[in-house]
Symmetry: C3
Subunit: 341 residues, 3 copies
Amino acid sequence: MFPKNAWYVAATSEEIKDKPFAREVCLTNIVFYRNKEGKVIALEDFCTHRGAAMSLGYIEDGDLVCGYHGLKAGCKGKIIEMPGQDPKKIPCLGYFPVVEKYGFIWIWPGKKENADESLIPHLEWHDNPEWAYAGGVFDIKCDYRFMIDNLMDLTHEKYVHGSSIGQEEIDESPVTTEFEDGFVVTSRYMNDIEAPPFWQMCMKHNNLDPSKKVDRWQKSKFVPPGAVLIDVGVALKDKGGKDAPKEDKVRCTVVDFMTPQSETSMWYFWGMARSFKPEDNQLTQDILKGQGGIFEEDLEVLEFQQKNLEKFPNRSLISLDIDAGGKLARRVLKQMIKEED
Amino acid sequence: MFPKNAWYVAATSEEIKDKPFAREVCLTNIVFYRNKEGKVIALEDFCTHRGAAMSLGYIEDGDLVCGYHGLKAGCKGKIIEMPGQDPKKIPCLGYFPVVEKYGFIWIWPGKKENADESLIPHLEWHDNPEWAYAGGVFDIKCDYRFMIDNLMDLTHEKYVHGSSIGQEEIDESPVTTEFEDGFVVTSRYMNDIEAPPFWQMCMKHNNLDPSKKVDRWQKSKFVPPGAVLIDVGVALKDKGGKDAPKEDKVRCTVVDFMTPQSETSMWYFWGMARSFKPEDNQLTQDILKGQGGIFEEDLEVLEFQQKNLEKFPNRSLISLDIDAGGKLARRVLKQMIKEED
Amino acid sequence: MFPKNAWYVAATSEEIKDKPFAREVCLTNIVFYRNKEGKVIALEDFCTHRGAAMSLGYIEDGDLVCGYHGLKAGCKGKIIEMPGQDPKKIPCLGYFPVVEKYGFIWIWPGKKENADESLIPHLEWHDNPEWAYAGGVFDIKCDYRFMIDNLMDLTHEKYVHGSSIGQEEIDESPVTTEFEDGFVVTSRYMNDIEAPPFWQMCMKHNNLDPSKKVDRWQKSKFVPPGAVLIDVGVALKDKGGKDAPKEDKVRCTVVDFMTPQSETSMWYFWGMARSFKPEDNQLTQDILKGQGGIFEEDLEVLEFQQKNLEKFPNRSLISLDIDAGGKLARRVLKQMIKEED
């Protein structure tokens, strides 16, 4: 249940170094590597000669060599040479449109002719000195849509992340779900409250008094098929919320890319971009560590949810108002898949 | 292949503390907890909202709260509250009749209206100062019926438990199988023999000379669907066997509750109740440790038997006289299942 | 996809000691043991009484006793005794023709009446003072035919074993495939080259100057269904290659027995027999260690190949000239299986 004609984050730029790198994306085993010019190439991890894993091979002059019998493939999977053989007679390896942008490796598992680079969502903080960013990647044994549900309804923060970003006021404040510029967006505003521990830490770093009352916001935007970008922050009370002057607020974008591995597992690229104190590397590391810890709390919940729903596949769940964001996101995905057929 | 309209031991009383406790019984994931009054509650471990595992949640004022979005369930699975929601509109969680009795948590996985507490077998030693009891629980990867077979035919003691309770005379003495008060019972009497190491230890503790000849008995009673209670002991020779005066014998009841987890795995609650020297706690601990070691010897045999029979499901086995008890027990189970349909 | 009317190596002689030994061969669980006379017996590892694993039992007076209820089986699976039972009424265990020869235990999983001991391939180095031999066994998760392919085409040496026996000249020299005395044989000759590290080490031990140019040969012979014997070596240049005088060459036979465990796993008995310096035990150990290390390099490649081909079972592979040996070997196997039906 995932669209194929779409860009997915397959890896971070740092993951693809000087060796072949294997990763399963959308039920396909893919090998990534950099060619002579440093450009990332993505081929099927399956040698057309005897089915060996190309990722067990090596790079020679920027081309990928099979480690079993020396078949050498070019960037579009064409066989360049094989000792003692006529390379033209050997079937090509599958290849995938791939783009390195914003610190990520984006892959298009579907019809190559539709792979339009301009469809990659713009990440404004990248290479922008006013922003800082750090993130990580998790391998999670659940349907990627469970994570989309999770992120489009932040009510769970109170329960799953009670000691960091959760607080009483979350489930006391209504959530609204709407289409904004064609995207599903869920928003929640909590005014005149105390900031939870994570935000107090951020306030301190931005020279704001953490004991002061704040207006807090969360705005999750689903960018299909696999991204949820969340505008979050707190501003000193009555200063304008997310539109408050820079010096009265702390504002971040929670970055989430969900990439299906199989129907029941996913790669989760998570991170946080912030537009205050971008030069403070210690703060960047503190946030990274804190966010990693918070997001690990979701793993167990989602993996057990996956097990429960696999065990009872015919059981219908209910949809409450808080689930409207996830529900709409699933409808968008369904429509994308329908259009592909 | 297990009846559902029956009481099964799901846990010991000590296992259910102040946190949710998850256990699979009869192919159903169940969460157990104690309410405000300390009464044990058993609900399906599946949140009707999004399928999360309720056992990952927590107890609040004696009620179970889902750790994902805060759904709170009452003792019969009714939704008590959920932040921002009308609880009446949320489907109930499944619940199970559950009784805490004799130090065990008994569950009825079948039709609730048939759950008659008086059907729980009476365990005379519980809360009886003339008896002492201790036991444990194992998770075994085999059909629960293999353990019933095992316990209804103690011939295996000579082979599996040769160094503790096994002895030559076991397979030299005939076993009889009969219905007694409606229960399948297998008995074996070995007279004028030397006591094996385990019983010599017990004799010493009860001031009997362990080198003296004894009359030994074993009487296994199958209490469907999942219990085998075994009256075992040795008496000084010619003193009347199991009916000998108290001072001339050592007598125990081996307690075995087999609870299906799935078709190919089970929970094994095992223990020993004794009616001599009940106040001797050191003896209780020694017997517990010894029995645990002896019963672990069965695990490997039964788990390999399971693997063999899974690999060759169509292979017919033979039934000897020593298997008559297990065979009759299976017939009783089959009849119970038939009556349920 | 394996013939059953054939001898397979099931174990080495040293593996079968004084205890029952379990091993799966051709999808059947088998228990091996030695009787009173030290002769190896092979029975099905499945007690006909209750399906217990016979290999969990013990040997008594050279006969195998089931560790569950004491059934004792004779060398052809006939039940000799069972306490309190008439052994004639208990069905026999399955047994297999088995021969101990050349330091291996050979088993015939198919029709017993066809098990002709003279069909076991002759291993000339065994008990021959002019030869030395050492080897080991690996459990590999791949179809046994992948290893046959691997050994009938040694082109992979350059890629998989680059630091020991691989060298540039391998894939520059053509391979020929032919039938020789009814066996599929692939040969490669590399003349006037430098010896690779492994062969230099052997030359030194045989008092040859390792810096001298050599003629190298590799001749793989497929002995169906599960053996590949490879005549390998180097001779000083222009001395006659493999037919050079003894003092001018180092010559070995690489010994490979592939025994199917299941359709997707195999036992790999590998070793090296050499006809120079047979009395040098240190050399024997050095070669054993070196070969073990080299052959371990194949494991990862073959197990990933298995995974890839299981994931894409309908994908057709190509067959190049270097694959002709493996292809012919598969044709021979197919024919054997066809004749069995």
